[in-house]
Amino acid sequence: MRHLLDRQRRAPAVLALVVLLLTLAAPFARAATPAPNPNNKPAEGKHYVVGTDTTFAPFEFRAANGDLVGIDMDLLHAIAQDQGFTVEVRSLGFDAAVQALQSRQVDAVMAGMSITEPRKQVFDFSDAYFDSGVQFAAPKTSSVNSLADLKGKRVAVKTGTAGADYADSVKTQYGFSTVAFGQTADMVNDVSTGNSAAYIDDFPVVAYSIQQGAPMKLIGEKAPAGSYGMAVNKGTDPELIAAFNQGLANIRANGEYDRVLAKYLGEQGTTQRTGFFTLLADSFPTLMKGLALTIAAAALSILFAMVLGVVFGFFKVSGNLALSWLATAYVAIFRGTPVLVQVFFFYFGIPAVTGITLTAFTAGVITLSLNAGAYMTEIVRGGIQGVDRGQMEAARSLGLPYMKAMNKVVLPQAIKIMTPSFINQFIITLKDTSLLAVIGLAELTYMGQQIIARNFRSFEMWLIIGVIYFIVIGLLTIASNKVDKRFNK
């Protein structure tokens, strides 16, 4: 195979204990065995949810039309078709996909995942469908032409990958230092801007980006790393593994496998670097798809947060000790932890314990609703307490019951006090939806990452995305202020 190196990511830290426990049980674990008969279809008619990475061209990435394509995707669909099962692919990011598999949010992971011994303790792997390797790359115009030229320079690596491990193993020998990034695109950007002299990634990824016009050159030799396989939780889906192996054997035999690889790694003309407006026009439909999801997630979150804020805000001013304590605890928890941690907790943590799986959209909306709800609770409390006490007293002295006095006298004035803070919170929540990209929600920021992973045009793309957010938030602000003026005269 031409492709040498591989992407071998370390198991996430949370795996460590599980690995340890399962090591004891390892001798009893079953090995998946491929079915020998080409017409055997062990998973026919079944439906599987498969988790994958977000930006790992050429294995998985978004095409210009927003579809998820790549070697993994094409092979998976070819095998599914051959074997008569259906798949739903969730593009989550590598670490997220592995966590989703462990929390049973997905049935399998196919994401350029190296077959390693530690992983085999936790997962069952299919037969290897790709042999890979890692290699350094530096800007075309750079004076770095060999590993020796890296002396005293900095090299960008991707956290938890085989490339990072390999770079660490040779950095003393060649005298360079490393800096770690979470995504290929960030790593490449760091090199493009000159912060780092070179980067290291899986060979097919580097080769593909150079083929797609990235102004990079390969440095040094490819270092072999391992083979990619599809993973399922240990002992859970033997028929999926069997079907995958059978389908893989079949498409290798009928030439489909070679066609897929040639499509992404064969010699092709270098893509022309397009102008800004062509880039804008090409990416616009995908970005608008993302924006629609951004707006849907923000609108629902804001709506639910308002309800939560009103309920808990009233709890706080109710004078009832238990209710007020409950509201205080709620606010303390959601204001006292980062939104990102909350997103991970609801998306990975809750399903891991309860077995109830949530889509990225549901988990995202739940998180943002609860988070914004905490802030809105304080806004509601502050608004009500901001109304002069004499207002309530005057209303009660007339004989109005508490709720009537609240509704007719205090709240209309409190809402006026709350409105500017509410508008502020709407804007914050809208912007916070961009954090949901980390759990693979295909909103605006995520779509931007996808496009950049394909074309490496980060300056123009983040500028375009920034402008889109700016316009949407501007419109939201104008609309909110209009409503404010109309109702709070």
Partner: protein, 269 residues
């Protein structure tokens, strides 16, 4: 009980209610306060307060700042929680758990030092709110009644104004009209003229004086000594959370017996 309070007030309007012609001692008790005590934590604001107010009686409460006058007044419609003792209004003991405070309060109007008008409503809406919300009158009837009340306090032309557009004296007159809209038996005035510019005090006192003439039962906390003397049937002097002395205006203002009363009056008169 004061001895001189047996006769109706000298200034009482001859056209006023029947009640005003009945000697004070024979009238029924509308407010009975017994052994009232009130503390905010360790701060004992009121103790051993016993007061009875008769129907149609006008009681003025005077005394130095911090004496507990406003707190006492606010106990009469239970805007303040009572620490111990009893407050009985129109036969309802407000300190008892089962008492429906909202119903009792409908018959007790209150006017505050800082007016507490509802700023998001027009003057007319301020006056109409309670009768409409409490089902006392249809919207139409409430409007007619509110207009009549505004006429009575001399503010008919301000019906559609917002409170922010009014002077202090006008605000306080609207507040009185708002309280009267519930047709209360009792009116409580908590330093109703203290926040007003001097030139506006007169217009508010005139409205209160008019109510007194018509036989309204009233308790006023006031710093207007001349007005208390003129309009009250009985004056209570409060200091340090207790009623130090009480009597007719003549007794309190001309022949005060308690040294604290003498001292206070020598400073304010």
């Amino acid at each position: 009980m004061s001895t001189a309070a047996n006769e109706p007030r000298a200034g009482a309007d001859p056209s006023a209610t029947e009640t005003s012609r009945v000697p004070m001692a024979q009238r029924k008790d509308v407010i009975v306060v017994k052994d009232l005590a009130k503390s905010f934590g360790d701060n004992h604001v009121l103790h051993d307060v016993d007061v009875t107010v008769k129907e149609g009686e006008v009681v003025a409460i005077i005394g130095p700042s911090g004496a507990g006058k406003s707190t006492f007044l606010r106990c009469l419609n239970k805007l303040e929680d009572v620490t111990s003792g009893h407050v009985v209004v129109n036969g309802h003991d407000l300190t008892e758990k089962g008492t429906d405070l909202d119903t009792v309060r409908q018959d007790i109007g209150m006017v505050f030092q800082h007016f507490n008008l509802f700023p998001h409503m027009t003057v007319l809406q301020n006056v109409m709110l309670a009768p409409v919300q409490l089902g006392r009158a249809s919207k139409e009837d409430a409007r007619r009644q509110a207009e009549a009340l505004l006429e009575r306090v001399g503010l008919a032309e301000k019906a559609d104004a917002r409170p922010a557009e009014l002077s202090g004296g006008q605000k306080q007159r609207v507040a009185i009209a708002r309280a009267l809209a519930m047709k209360p038996d009792i009116m409580l005035f908590d330093e109703a003229t203290s926040a007003l510019d001097p030139e506006m005090v007169g217009e508010v006192l005139e409205v209160i004086r008019d109510l007194a003439r018509q036989g309204m039962t009233m308790v006023l906390v006031t710093h207007e000594m001349g007005f208390a003397r003129e309009v009250a049937d009985r004056v209570l002097f409060m200091a340090d959370g207790v009623i130090k002395e009480e009597g007719t205006p003549a007794e309190i203002f001309e022949r005060p017996r308690d040294p604290r009363t003498q001292d206070f009056l020598s400073k304010v008169l």
